[in-house]
């Protein structure tokens, strides 16, 4: 009887110890994963020869014009996925506008893809940030789904740089910085 009691105590203690150890192990591993994710760079550069071809898509701009990706062939294209509701998109807007002003004369085209938004909100955003390049009205994320077949457009904002042949040179996940974009644009110009 006494022995059985002692055995139960031992078992329960052992189980508790193993549980604790396992909990610590799981916590440790999940935390480590978070650290890697946080320190991960937000720029993806595809090496030459492994650049995915962006699937063609057709959309309607916020002002009602038809926009086709293939009509940008022969130009380097900066395709920015954004929404007026998204603070990081507002954060990066001035950088993109400066880049547009600098690189448009050099044959680089800029195109926005406005997701999860209404045209009224989007046009107000463009007006207040003095954005002059067009944007597709993509409330339902269909263009995102099309492009996701080639490259992972996981979040908003995401900016994709496509070369003259329609291949994706690289992309920036999250807000862009001036330096990241000029490097990608340089890569796109050198490659084609």
């Amino acid at each position: 009887m006494f022995k059985a009691k002692r055995r139960t105590v031992v078992t329960v203690t052992a189980v508790a110890a193993v549980l604790l150890a396992a909990a610590l192990a799981v916590t440790f591993f999940t935390q480590e994963k978070d650290v890697i994710a946080a320190s991960d760079t937000n720029v993806v550069v595809y090496p030459v020869g492994h650049q995915p071809l962006a699937p063609d898509f057709t959309g309607t701009s916020l002002t009602g014009a038809t926009i086709k990706l293939s009509s940008y062939r022969g130009k380097i294209l900066v395709l920015n996925f954004w929404g007026s509701w998204c603070p990081p998109c507002r954060d990066e807007a001035p950088t993109l506008e400066v880049l547009d002003e600098q690189y448009s004369p050099k044959g680089v085209a800029f195109l926005g893809d406005d997701v999860g938004d209404t045209p009224a909100n989007a046009l107000a955003f463009m007006s207040s940030h003095a954005i002059t390049y067009p944007s597709i009205n993509d409330q339902g994320y269909q263009i995102v789904q099309d492009l996701s077949q080639a490259v992972p457009v996981r979040d908003t904002p995401t900016t994709v740089v496509i070369d003259k042949t329609g291949h994706v040179v690289g992309m920036v996940l999250g807000s862009v910085s001036y330096g990241e974009m000029t490097t990608l644009l340089h890569d796109a110009a050198v490659n084609t």
Binding site: V15, D91, Y141, Q145
Partner: protein, 562 residues
């Protein structure tokens, strides 16, 4: 779970039987001797540590002992109990995965308690490390228990019956008769009867000097046992497959809106360990209409009576559109992905113009129900391009109670909003994300005249030429849960098979019949003894079966003569 009788339980003696001569008696394996009861292994005093060979053996012993404890049924039961216990907070407290808005609400109403609960992941129980620890250990425990048992069961299902005991009269059931045949033929005759009854037979060796046959029936019990254990493994693997390759996602969709199933379109995405965003099913859907009906009168007035989300969907870009009505427990299935309707609410549509007179915001804005019986809902309108923000309360059927707006019915019969306006920089130009359901009023100026009550079509012109806000109308939103669980069907099939196996192992008995013949003392013929034995004959029935069988064996004599 694993108390289905595995072979090692054969060491328990059958009631009234001599243990030493137990024909079922398998020796208790040495490895099964419990170390804690002073068996083959006694942990070294002082516990693990050191490096001498003896201590190394002790360490291995500790590990083996730990493994045995983990894979023991007691531990499995404790873990199962802990799993059930750990699920309780998951059903009592709102969970981030399914009800993020209610979690937010809980934080607001319990400002002191909520952060503490959050610290131990009680708002995300099923994804918490301690919950994972319990089920991982349970998995390890069950697999460690089931796999060795499966091998033992295969062995047990393949073994021949044991040799006939010397003295059949000592068995619980026995009878004997005089035969006119010599012993060898008498035994052969009995073997023919047993064979016809589909007993598995074992005869005496060719050079043996005694005459006997052993028969055993009821191997289906072991097959059932085996099926149960394998199906249990199947259930575990299916659940694991679901966890690795499945995903769950939430999406709030307003009437008239479309969404394509991509990670950036989803509000919440909980992928399995081996799932990436590119594994999502490439469907898209549009919410054409949502209708909720409520009981209009009587005691249960205001209770919902039906929900219906009318959607148009395409299974992949360019595919032919389909049409479906999603209801509670009637999800839309697109390929293997299911879309469930899990919630709904109101999205009042607002138009905000800035000081320059231009439209800065026009959108049906989802408000979150604060009271799910009256659907009084809270929400915010953010028009950063007009430097205006509003906090609002929406009531679907509003009345004024002493100057306070209250909702008396969940349907939008007399919708109204009460708005408090703020002007200033909403802080949305910083890279930091912020919730679309809250407005940080730090640094903002409250607009005088607040709160303002508006009905559909009414406009509040803000003082000081700051602009205006119009309550355009009301739309509804639905909360959808998108799930892909490749393990669901296999788990169901395995579960059913496990049940079948369990029933087989419960209802089929292993029973053994032995026949021995010795030459009659008179010189001619023989004395034939039939003995029978079953294990765990709790439901009874073997006694009658044995009597009939013994009679049949005795009656078969003339056939042998021919």
């Amino acid at each position: 779970m694993t108390d289905v009788h595995a072979p090692q339980s054969q060491s328990e003696s059958v009631a009234g039987e001599d243990k030493a001569k137990n024909p079922f008696g398998a020796k208790k394996k040495q490895s099964e001797v419990d170390p804690a009861s002073g068996g083959i292994f006694e942990p070294a005093p002082g516990g693990p540590g050191g490096s001498s060979p003896r201590e190394a053996t002790a360490n291995v012993g500790w590990l083996r002992w730990g493994w045995r404890q983990l894979t023991s049924m007691r531990t499995a039961l404790i873990l199962l109990f802990l799993l059930a216990l750990a699920s309780i907070p998951g059903s009592i407290l709102p969970q981030d995965g399914t009800e993020p808005a209610q979690v937010q609400q809980y934080f607001t109403s319990h400002p002191a308690l909520a952060p503490w609960l959050n610290r131990v992941d009680l708002f995300n129980v099923y994804a918490s490390p301690w919950f994972a620890a319990i089920y991982l250990l349970l998995f390890a425990s069950l697999i460690g228990c089931v796999v060795p048992r499966t091998f033992r069961l295969v062995g047990s299902a393949r073994t021949l019956p044991p040799r006939a005991p010397r003295n059949l009269r000592r068995l619980p059931h026995s009878s004997s008769y005089q035969s006119t045949l010599p012993p060898a033929q008498a035994v052969e005759g009995a073997a023919a009867v047993l064979g016809k009854q589909r007993f598995r037979l074992r005869r005496a060796d060719a050079d043996a000097t005694d005459y006997w046959v052993s028969g055993e029936k009821g191997y289906l019990r072991e097959v059932g046992n085996l099926l149960f254990h394998l199906s249990l493994l199947g259930v575990l693997l299916s659940i694991a497959a679901g966890g690795l390759f499945g995903y769950k996602a939430d999406k709030l969709l307003v009437q008239g809106q479309t969404f394509a199933d991509t990670t950036s379109a989803l509000d919440e995405f909980f992928p399995g360990r081996l799932v990436s965003g590119s594994d999502l099913a490439p469907f898209s859907m549009t919410l054409n209409n949502f209708t909720a009906t409520y009981v209009e009168s009587g005691e249960s007035r205001g209770q919902p009576s039906s929900f219906n989300a009318d959607v148009t969907y395409t299974s992949s870009p360019g595919a032919k559109p389909g049409h479906y009505n999603i209801r509670i427990n009637d999800p839309l299935a697109v390929d293997s992905t299911k879309v469930y309707l899990i919630g709904h609410g109101y999205a009042p549509e607002f138009k905000v113009t800035g000081a320059n007179g231009k439209v800065a915001y026009q959108e049906a804005t989802p408000f979150i129900p604060a009271n799910t019986s009256t659907f009084e809902s809270d929400g915010v309108v953010k028009a950063p391009d007009a430097s205006l923000g509003f906090m609002g309360v929406f009531v679907p059927t509003g009345i004024s109670v002493g100057g306070t707006l209250e909702s008396i019915f969940p349907a939008a019969d007399a919708p109204a909003v009460s708005l408090i306006g703020y002007s200033g920089n909403l802080g949305m130009n910083d890279a930091a994300s912020q919730s679309v359901y809250t407005l940080d009023t730090t640094g903002l100026t409250k607009i005088s005249g607040s709160p303002q009550l508006l009905q559909p079509g009414q406009t509040w012109t803000l003082p000081g030429g700051k602009g205006s806000i119009t309550f355009v109308g009301v739309k509804q939103w639905v909360s959808l849960q998108i799930t892909y669980d490749p393990g669901q069907i296999p788990a169901l099939v395995c579960g059913i098979l496990a049940l079948c196996g369990l029933l087989l192992s419960f209802f089929v008995r292993r029973r053994r019949v032995f026949v021995r013949a010795v030459p009659a003392k008179s010189g001619t013929g023989s004395v034939v003894t039939v003995g029978g034995l079953t294990r765990l004959d709790a439901s009874g029935g073997f006694e009658e079966e044995f009597v009939e069988l013994a009679a049949e064996i005795a009656a078969a004599e003339p056939e042998v003569k021919q």
